[in-house]
């Protein structure tokens, strides 16, 4: 079992989110992302060409994934590191816990990693008696709150500064009550000093990876805070947890992806820290971890290769799709009910936890297409959500009234003469029912519409019947 999902209750979750005034206030801040991305894209004339090539790099890698994985593994071992493979979340957790135990670890610091969320690593470490400390400021805040991230690059975007102050006062026991913590600056200073001590005390550092480079056996992480670096250079061991599709062939290929990653994510030309790590501390090195382990996770991804969801494996987790999604903007990430929110989550979640649990997500989209428009690796997200809907429809998983309604409509739509007759009749009837008011504030079978907005009434008769009457008269 991975992190517990509430995805099947998406509609209820969305309702809760929409009626949560505090959350709605916090979500306004997420809108800044779209402006920043647009400015960064505008500033780089080669941005669109880079997106095309980023997609090509990923497609090439996926088509040769077995070979690049082999090459990567060889280079890690050559540089003194070790590679472990995990087919699922349970296996990945077990490997990491065993590694921590063999290193005698009592305390683990963690860089931000969505794969670690996917496998529910923190809870597993705690259950094994090993303290896990998230060090990304946003991750640290939500760890104190006992929550999951609500955004893949801004995990605490749903939290207000007042919430953070409360969380810190509760968790940091020796904090004087008189200390002013009303502004983000003061909150950051408090977190910095508390976490500095944790960094220095940790036995093992666990990070994710944005890329794994086959050419050199290198793992790459990208951060703005520097927490990922302090996580990996101070303890005696560095464990990288990454999924199979993070592989890229060469450093040059990584650079292509890095150029679109930061711009798409935060609108920066480059994140502050892009760190390439290859193996453990070298002879003579004055610092750095003595041991370097990479845990490579599959968790259903190898089955996505070669199929209609393969394109999803190009995803570099920038978050642009959710930043630009009207649904995400309205409800935030927690309503999606599992680890990955927004459009990328709507496609990936059913793949990873099953369509029975995750099937609502690909349905809850207006198909506005803005996610695909901004995706740095041009993943056709709406098309893949539609694939999920097709699978549901084929397996009769969509709700029965919906299927019957669609079937009835299709019966008429397949018969043009009957359709013209029926629609004209309907238009006339609805026009009369509208009683010259021009709209309805309630209509049968349209409650989802009329509960929130009026529904325009037909003008009178259908266009087709009027056109026929006219052209008949002319002839």
């Amino acid at each position: 079992m991975s992190a517990v999902a509430t995805t099947s209750k998406f509609k209820e979750n969305a309702h809760d989110a929409l009626t949560d005034a505090r959350l709605q206030g916090a979500l306004v801040h997420a809108r800044n992302f779209t402006v920043r991305r647009a400015a960064a894209a505008e500033r780089l004339p080669e941005f669109e060409a880079l997106r095309d090539n980023a997609r090509a790099v990923k497609d090439h890698t996926l088509a040769h994934l077995d070979l690049y994985l082999e090459a990567y593994e060889r280079k890690v071992v050559e540089s003194g590191g070790q590679v472990h493979y995990a087919q699922d979340a349970e296996e990945a957790r077990r490997i990491i816990i065993e590694l921590c135990r063999s290193l005698g670890a009592k305390s683990v610091t963690k860089g931000k990693s969505m794969v670690s969320e996917e496998i529910g690593l923190n809870q597993a470490l705690e259950a094994a008696g090993i303290e896990a400390v998230e060090t990304d400021l946003g991750e640290y805040i939500i760890q104190l709150r006992g929550e999951a991230p609500s955004h893949i690059i801004a995990p605490a975007i749903h939290v207000t500064k007042q919430d953070v102050e409360q969380d810190f006062r509760k968790a940091h026991r020796d904090l004087p009550a008189t200390r002013d913590l009303s502004e983000p600056e003061q909150l950051l200073a408090e977190a910095r000093s508390v976490l500095r001590a944790r960094f220095l005390a940790a036995d093992v550092g666990v990070t994710g990876a944005n890329f794994l480079v086959a050419e050199t056996g290198t793992s790459i992480i990208v951060t703005n805070e520097g927490n990922g670096d302090l996580t990996q250079i101070l303890p005696k061991a560095h464990i990288v947890i990454a999924s199979i599709e993070k592989i890229v062939p060469t450093l040059e290929d990584a650079a292509q992806l890095l150029r679109v990653l930061a711009r798409s994510a935060t609108g920066q030309d480059a994140s502050v820290y892009t760190t390439l790590s290859t193996g453990p501390r070298r002879p003579g090195d004055p610092d750095g971890p003595s041991a370097y382990h990479v845990v490579i996770l599959d968790n259903g991804r190898s089955s996505m290769l070669g199929g209609e969801f393969e394109d999803m494996l190009r995803c570099i987790r920038c978050g642009a799709c959710m930043n630009h999604c009207p649904v995400y903007q309205a409800i935030g990430g927690h309503a999606y009910g599992w680890v990955y929110p927004g459009p990328m989550g709507a496609v990936l979640t059913p793949s990873l936890i099953g369509v029975a649990e995750g099937g609502q997500l690909p349905n809850a989209s207006s198909f506005c297409g803005r996610c695909e428009e901004v995706c740095p690796v041009r993943i056709p997200l709406p098309k893949m959500m539609r694939h999920w809907r097709e699978r549901e429809f084929e397996r009769h998983l969509s709700p029965a009234p919906f299927r019957y309604g669609l079937g009835l409509w299709a019966f008429f739509a397949r018969r043009p003469t009957l359709y013209r007759f029926a629609t004209d009749l309907a238009a006339r009837a609805m026009h009369l029912a509208g009683r010259g008011k021009g709209r309805f504030s309630w209509a049968p079978l349209a409650g989802g519409w009329t509960q929130y907005r009026d529904l325009a009434a037909p003008e009178k008769t259908t266009f087709q019947s009027q056109w026929r009457a006219k052209s008949g008269a002319v002839k």
Partner: protein, 265 residues
């Protein structure tokens, strides 16, 4: 009446099949007649083959078989037309971009769908990009905000064309929405299946509209317009919603979408 870049000889009038779209057909025939007027003024011979729906509701609901049946029906119905024109970016996108995808892997049908797609256009982009229309002879007294409907914008690249023609409408002042490219929350069945979510999105849109000085909101898709109109009206806003074709054709003197159809002024 309509100025074109190259004056077309009458005998070369292209035969344009109007794909009227379900919503225009049933709810607002005025848009269909406005489209006919604009096309005829631009030198086209307009025909309206017997038709039903483009199949998009089925396609987006995952019912590929029905979508394919309706696609074949539409392709056959417009066989003898030089062009197929729809007063909608959404239905236009279905015809022009999704039909070929529907038949991927079936070479004969795919080729047919490709040919059909190549001759299919959304109304306003057809006027500007294909027929070279640069101005219209219309008058509309008012301040207008244009909402870029998603499918038209992203699948068909419709952005400048309606603004260019609107600039030639006498008396019309165009203002921009802060988030003109953000979805209105319609999304077909989405609006009723996820009514509460759709409402949150359209509420933001109506806020954006009300922040401008606009007295009218225009768009190229009746679905989006009914959504925005319905929200504005429920909120008691006096802002009117109209299809852009009504304004361009000078046929915006009747009641706006969802407005009282009492005696015309």
């Amino acid at each position: 009446m309509t100025a074109t870049r190259d004056g077309r000889a009458p005998n070369s009038r292209p035969r344009v099949g109007l794909f009227v779209t379900c919503l225009v057909d049933i709810i607002r025939p005025t848009v269909g007649f406005a489209a006919v007027k604009l096309l005829e003024e631009a030198g086209c011979k307009v025909v309206v083959p017997s038709q039903t729906c483009c199949g998009q509701p089925a396609y987006n609901a995952g019912d590929r078989a029905t979508a394919k049946d309706l696609a074949m029906q539409a392709i056959d119905a417009f066989e003898d037309c030089d062009y197929v024109v729809a007063p909608s970016g959404s239905c236009g996108g279905m015809l022009a971009t999704h039909y070929p995808e529907l038949f991927a892997g079936e070479p004969d049908m795919a080729a047919k769908a490709e040919r059909f797609a190549a001759k299919t256009h959304e109304l306003v982009s057809f006027l500007v990009d294909v027929l070279g229309v640069e101005t219209v002879a219309a008058r509309y007294e008012g301040t207008v905000a244009y909402h870029d409907s998603c499918a038209g914008l992203r699948e068909l690249g419709i952005k400048t064309q309606p603004r260019r023609l609107l600039a030639s409408v006498e008396g019309l002042r165009l203002v921009e929405l802060e988030e003109a490219e953000t979805c209105c929350g319609f999304g077909g069945m989405f609006a009723t299946k996820y009514g509460e979510l759709s409402n949150a999105i359209v509420s933001r849109k109506s806020e954006d509209i009300r922040k401008t000085a606009a007295d009218t909101v225009l768009a190229g898709d009746l679905g989006c317009l009914m959504n925005m109109a319905g929200k504005l009206q429920r909120e008691g806003s006096p802002v009117k919603a109209r299809h852009v074709a009504e304004v361009l054709a000078g046929m915006a003197d009747g009641p706006a979408i969802g407005e009282s159809q009492g005696p015309k002024q």
